[in-house]
Amino acid sequence: MNLLDIRNLSIELIHDDQRILAVDKVSLSMKEGEVRGVVGESGSGKSLLAQALVGVLDDKWHVHADRFHWRGVDLLRLSIDERKALLSRDVAMIFQEPMACLDPTTSIGEQLTEAIDSSQLTGYFWQRKKQRQSAAIKLLHKVGIKNHQACLTSYPHQLTEALCQRVMIAIALARRPILLIADEPTAAMENTNEGQIFRLLASLNQLKNMSILLISHDLETITHWTNTITVMYSGQFVEAGTTAQIFGKPLHPYTRALVDSSPSANLHLPAKSRLKTLPGSIPILQHLPIGCRLGPRCPRAQQACVKAPTVTNFHGHKVSCHFPLTPLKSTPKKTRKGTS
């Protein structure tokens, strides 16, 4: 059974009597213990998708879905309160600027103990405070902060960015979530810190069997850490498959361009040669092209592209394109493991 199964999720914004489809029929499914990456450039709706999952979007956004199942429970049939209770128990989220997300006026210790659910504590009310404190220390140890006393008493501005992100992860772990949504957890971070955070997330995934939805704008930073990847462009679903499929044998012209444009993926490329790119820039929400939104930039666009393509499943490798790079009729070759 899938942990999360979303079919045709659309998010609409009504602005001056105009309907803007910010996310257009995106499907996403996750298995238990899976690390799934969601890749898309700015404006691709990947953060909106995550926010819709947790249910923190405000009233001006309208979310529709054909199917929205969480561990077999149809969330669309539950009332808002029931849905909130279920999701807040099982899903946690961390955000991209940890320093900005933590409260600057309260100490880390207070923020951390606040997140600990009182149902986890046993004993009488006079023992509670001590238990909370020790639970907070345990959480800090879990995320690899050894000097817990100094950390608990300090304020967010006194810690480095990587430490703040660890604290955010500790707060997210307080309710023992089954799914952790990480919305660009390492944006604007140094390489060494980035590695630390990803290694921590990977170890949590392995030890606690926690599923992780890793959202990033850069394909190359997350490929090492994910099992499967979903690629989005400008609010539309582009391609989904295992990391090796996406990276080694992309079917969609957009994914191909992403892989080609990353210099670290193409080591054979001579230095200072031109990189392959798509022309043009990302369309803004007010002026989205009809049909396939990549259309004006796509090198393979033809007349049929003014209609939005349907998703074709190709041995678990889903692609949404009229003219995918490998013709679908031929039988796909087995993807080699660990190809670059």
Partner: protein, 262 residues
């Protein structure tokens, strides 16, 4: 061929304002020396607080150096000669959205360095702005627009236009590619490489992304706590790192090149 930009024993330290006799100094940048030739790119890498951005500020003249000298074409640049410096050494910043004044049109933005540094009349200035905008892949008519009308990638192109409009010899890119989306970033790299080819520019590239550095730069210096710990040809340093700081930096990114093995 002689070096275009040569830096000798450049250093920077900040003085704490405490007691008169008990002055303390923190050294941010130990005396460092390097040189850049025309048509070449020098990459600077290092961890946070290693003095990368301080180096950029010193070179461009935003902060006075505590010691050492910068030679451009064999001629020493004094810390007071702003005019000479801003004609020849230009800088592009990380966040293109906040470096452009939102209340000025692109014409006014690009006009400012021309007014201050050249003696061209208005018609010639306008013509120069038009050709510069075309050079960075925008339209000449874009000059009547305000910065908010452009997307992030286009704003970065405008900053590039502002940098090259005075025909400089050195451009400093302080994390200028980090905030761009991947497809726009490769467009920008292509553009920078083309301009380097056409105008013989030298770049000093400060970046985290080792993939870009490997692709883009000829020489590299590795900074750690204000000191140069390793320098040389990019290819040699990347393939055979010697110092442990370099090894650590490389290790953290080299595994990102291949997908996870099952």
């Amino acid at each position: 061929m002689s070096d275009l930009l040569e830096v000798k024993d450049l250093c920077k330290s900040y003085r704490h304002k405490s007691y008169w006799f008990n002055r303390k100094e923190t050294s941010v940048l130990a005396p460092i020396s390097f040189s850049v030739e025309a048509n070449q790119t020098l990459a600077v890498i290092g961890e946070t607080g290693s003095g990368k951005s301080t180096l950029a500020k010193l070179l461009v003249g935003a902060e006075p150096a505590s010691g050492g000298c910068v030679y451009l074409n064999g001629q020493a640049l004094k810390s007071t000669s702003y005019k000479q410096r801003c004609q020849h050494i230009r800088m592009i910043f990380q966040d293109s959205g906040t470096t452009l004044n939102p209340s000025l049109t692109i014409l006014q933005l690009l006009d400012e360095p021309l007014k201050l540094n050249t003696s061209l009349d208005e018609i010639k200035r306008k013509e120069l702005i038009r050709t510069t905008l075309q050079k960075v892949g925008l339209l000449g008519d874009h000059m009547n627009f305000y910065p908010h009308m452009f997307s992030g990638g286009q704003k970065q192109r405008i900053s590039l236009a502002r940098a090259i409009i005075l025909q400089p010899q050195v451009i400093i890119l302080d994390e200028a590619l980090a905030s761009l989306d991947p497809s726009l970033r490769s467009q920008m790299i292509n553009l920078l490489l083309d301009l380097q080819h056409q105008m013989g520019l030298a770049y000093i590239l400060i970046s985290h992304n080792l993939g870009i550095i490997r692709h883009f730069s000829d020489n590299i210096i590795v900074l750690s706590q204000g000191e140069v710990v390793e320098s040389g040809k990019t290819r040699d340093v990347m393939n055979n790192p010697q110092h442990k700081v370099t090894k650590k930096l490389l290790m953290n990114q080299s595994f990102q090149l291949k997908p996870k093995r099952k």
